[in-house]
């Protein structure tokens, strides 16, 4: 039997092929695999599985350079999510994914369904989701559209995560013109599983039934995968797939049902139906297991009338899972699903012929060698060339003395009010951060820390990345993204274990973009090697472009770390008046690409901060040992806004804000080589942390730092509640009541986002 065209199918024309996002060469390749023309349904299947989103056509060879091994790795890339060993029999399962294009079109549902998808990647591994994080990029909040997008995205993430009962404990948000036409919405999920209860999504056992569990299938998001693989343009408005609507209530039931199914032993594999729906879930599960599947698409429960096999196969309706049950256990599977008020429907079987076969009742509508479908997708090696314009910007000299006669106190106030730096409370108070009662440190500081119930362990999680640095220097920027994540983990006292990533770039067919991608990945790979944090998986999101151009190349890094004893965790906020403030790491006053520089010049240029990977590693080790020995009262790393902002945050974040007195002369160097005051205060050095210690512990910390070769300078003391924040460097002095700084910092987002136009009733106002 061979697949045949159905009546009413459009004929195979070059136009049809093009609309499926396939090239003439790719069509030839398909003919080579099939030995004939593809049917319309088969064309749809190839289009989805060979889209950039599913096939990684442009990125695979580059991704191969990532380090993926380590003694802690239980599962590297290739499964639904990566898995690392935590100890005490527990493993952490985590993954990050983008939902940029759907969120640009419909921010609320786009973001919500992004959360739903990443949750499913985690619980299909048998893990219970315990935390969500979100990394977001928008255009400037001075404009209405970015405000509208941000409100919708945050509400969508909140409504979904809150409803399923998984706390959203971290993330980051940054704003820049580069993201105005194409926001970034990246969601990360973290789960916990007993090592011996891991399950992998590999179909096995010819004769075993294949079942769909969860929601009915509608015409949602058909061609979503290929949509995600094209630039946003005026035309994409019309090509845009039907918006997918999330149903977190059903997802919650799916979580419980799936975990129970996995624990029951009645199933051999489970996979979520994400991008390209039934097609990709079935094909991938079969290819991983080296088997075939024989499905009847007409058996799939549908929500709309007169759906075609093409639509059923490519629908991206949410909250659905594909399950391979053990033969003869269909009843048991159905029964478990029924207790969770879900339906399970058998739609086919695993076969031993390796063929991906789809029927529609009696007709065979697709018949493709399964392995070829997944593994013979084309791979491209695009040209790579640095943009000379960006190279020039990078090499452009900074203003002498780091800017003309600035009022440094006013600059600090303005930095704290910048949406990128200001408190993200407006965002994270819309998220349930304490459900599941394991959040030991929520958002607001650096990484969040969760306890692992029944063990002494703490799990630290963070996500983020600076697109500016990568734009100016992709290699250094890639390193910086990983190094910053590692610092965020280490300041809590946790040891970094590994990363997931979400690589957001423009159109890889443009040499300038592919250069950024390749170099950023090289930076990430080098940093991961140096820091001992393998890459366990991730996601590539290309074609993040709008008519105004590409977004900043933004590799987002999601990192997890472990604390052997959660009671030793360290917070970012100063704790006690009189504690000694210590600066760890070498200060170089790097203002290239900094927030301060663009504040005073209105431009983004210069060499972004360089990362000395050996020093980064030493700083991590020093922080971890300092926490382990109980020496640190607080620890916070320097990032956007530099030392001055980091110190201000340490003071402001205390439940009752604490003043401080800091003289940065010691880290500025001696004249005539002393760094300019602005550079010391606002340079965004990638390798510095500010810690506070009880006076009695200062000497021991100095010894620890010495052993790790980390430069250490005592720079001041913690002041009293409601006191003044005082900074001195060279002859310059800045003094502000810490309460006033905090008002500005806390108001940055609310004053731009609350009330007024740009609200959306569709998102419940």
């Amino acid at each position: 039997m061979s697949a045949r065209a159905r009546e009413g199918d459009p004929p195979l024309t070059p136009e049809l092929v093009r609309r499926h996002g396939l090239t003439a060469d790719e069509l030839e390749r398909i003919r080579g695999i099939l030995g004939r023309d593809p049917t319309y349904v088969e064309l749809g299947i190839f289009s989805a599985l060979w889209s950039e989103h599913c096939a990684y056509k442009h990125s695979r060879p580059v991704l191969k350079s990532f380090p993926t091994d380590g003694p802690q790795v239980l599962q590297g890339p290739g499964e639904n999510a990566g898995v690392l060993r935590l100890g005490h029999g527990w493993a952490v399962v985590f993954k990050m994914e983008s939902h940029n294009h759907p969120s640009a079109v419909e921010p609320y549902q786009g973001a919500a369904t992004g959360v739903g998808g990443i949750l499913r990647d985690i619980f299909t591994m048998g893990a219970r989701p315990v935390a969500l994080l979100d990394s977001l990029r928008f255009g400037p909040l001075e404009r209405e559209r970015p405000r509208y997008l941000m409100r919708g995205v945050v509400r969508g993430i909140g409504d979904y995560g809150n409803c399923v009962g998984v706390p959203t404990v971290g993330g980051d948000v940054a704003f820049d013109d580069a993201y105005e036409g194409n926001p970034l919405v990246n969601a990360m999920c973290v789960g916990l599983v007993r090592e011996d209860e891991l399950i992998r999504a590999r179909a096995a056992g010819p004769g075993n039934p294949v079942m769909v569990v969860g929601s009915r299938t509608g015409r949602d998001g058909i061609h979503g995968a290929s949509f995600a693989s094209a630039e946003l343009s005026a035309q994409s408005e019309s090509r845009r797939p039907q918006v997918q609507v999330g149903d977190p209530f059903t997802e919650k039931l799916l979580i419980e049902a799936s975990l129970e199914l996995i624990g029951s032993g009645h199933i051999v594999a489970i996979q979520d139906m994400g991008a390209a729906g039934l097609t990709s879930s079935a094909a991938e599960m079969a290819a991983r297991g080296g088997v075939g599947v024989d499905l009847d698409a007409r058996a799939v429960p549908v929500r709309e009338t007169e759906m075609t096999p093409y639509e059923v196969l490519l629908s991206e309706s949410q909250e659905r899972m594909l399950v391979v049950a053990r033969r003869g256990r269909e009843r048991e599977v159905e029964a478990i699903c029924r207790t969770w008020e879900l339906t399970a429907t058998a739609i086919g079987r695993v076969t031993d012929d390796g063929v991906f076969r789809v029927r529609w009742g009696d007709e065979v509508v697709a018949e493709i060698p399964g392995r070829d479908l997944v593994e013979r997708a084309p791979v491209y090696a695009p040209a790579a060339r640095e943009s000379p314009a960006i190279a020039r910007l990078r090499e452009r000299a900074l203003p002498a003395g780091a800017g003309p006669g600035q009022d440094l106190g006013a600059a600090l106030e303005r930095l704290l009010d910048l949406p990128t730096i200001a408190s993200k409370r407006w965002v994270y108070e819309q998220y349930d951060t304490s459900v599941q009662t394991s959040t030991v440190m929520g958002p607001g500081g650096d990484a969040a820390v969760l306890r692992v119930r029944g063990t002494p362990l703490g799990l630290a999680v963070t996500s983020g990345g600076s697109g500016r640095y990568v734009w100016l220097d992709p290699y250094e920027g890639g390193k910086a993204a990983v190094a910053e994540a590692a610092r965020n983990i280490a300041v809590t006292g946790a040891r970094p274990l590994g990363i997931t990533d979400c690589l957001n770039f423009g159109n890889p067919e443009k040499p300038e973009v592919f250069y950024q991608f390749r170099e950023a990945c090289r930076g990430i790979a080098d940093a991961c090697r140096a820091l001992g944090t393998p890459v366990t998986g991730g996601n590539v999101s290309f074609y993040n472009e709008s008519p105004a151009g590409a977004v900043y190349p933004t590799p987002m890094i999601g990192m997890v770390g472990v604390l052997p004893d959660v009671s030793r965790r360290v917070g970012a906020a100063f704790r006690a008046p009189g504690d000694v403030i210590v600066c760890l790491g070498r200060v170089r006053g790097e203002l290239g690409g900094s927030q301060y520089l663009s504040l005073v010049t209105g431009e983004v240029f210069g060499r972004p901060p360089r990362v000395d990977l050996e020093a980064a590693r030493a700083l991590v080790d020093c922080l971890v040992e300092g926490a382990e020995r109980g020496l640190l009262a607080s620890a916070h790393d320097v990032s956007e806004g530099g030392l001055a902002v980091a110190l201000a945050e340490c003071g402001m974040l205390a439940p009752e804000p604490l003043g401080f007195d800091a003289d940065l002369g010691a880290v500025a160097g001696a004249p005539p080589d002393a760094l300019p005051a602005a550079a010391v205060l606002f340079g965004e050095d990638q390798g510095v942390a500010v810690v506070s210690v009880a006076p009695a512990a200062a000497a021991e910390l100095a010894a620890v730092a010495g052993r790790h070769g980390v430069p250490l300078a005592a720079i001041g003391t913690v002041g009293r509640p409601g006191g003044a924040a005082r900074l001195a460097v060279g002859g310059e002095r800045v003094e502000r009541p810490v309460a006033a700084l905090r008002r500005g910092y806390e108001n940055g987002l609310p004053r731009r986002l609350d009330g007024g136009a740009g609200m959306s009733l569709a998102q419940g106002a």
């Binding site: 549902q109 918006v243 059903t250 949410q318 009733l761 998102q763």
Partner: protein
């Protein structure tokens, strides 16, 4: 200027999943109501407007739907009534 009351109805597009409507339909069934074939849940916005005429009020209300009251990507709207208030 006179006062009018305009009533706008905003409903999710028929082809989109409406989880809320589904849940209500399910609940009505469990409550013993027979014959509930489908439920969709949308919004009503009641506007009290100052306008020169009913026609002007109607036009105003429609413009508001286009700008704010309905999401053009996921919803349809209808103006159900414009009456003197």
């Amino acid at each position: 200027m006179r006062r009018f009351r305009a009533r706008v109805r905003v409903m999710p597009r028929p082809s989109l999943l409406d989880p809320q409507g589904q849940a209500v339909a399910h609940a009505l069934g469990e409550l013993g109501f027979r014959g509930v074939a489908a439920v969709r849940v949308g919004r009503t916005v009641e506007l009290t407007l100052e306008a020169e005429s009913a026609e002007a009020a109607r036009e105003g209300a429609l413009a508001m739907c286009g700008r704010l009251l309905a999401n053009p990507v996921t919803e349809d709207f209808a103006l159900d009534a414009v009456e003197p208030a």
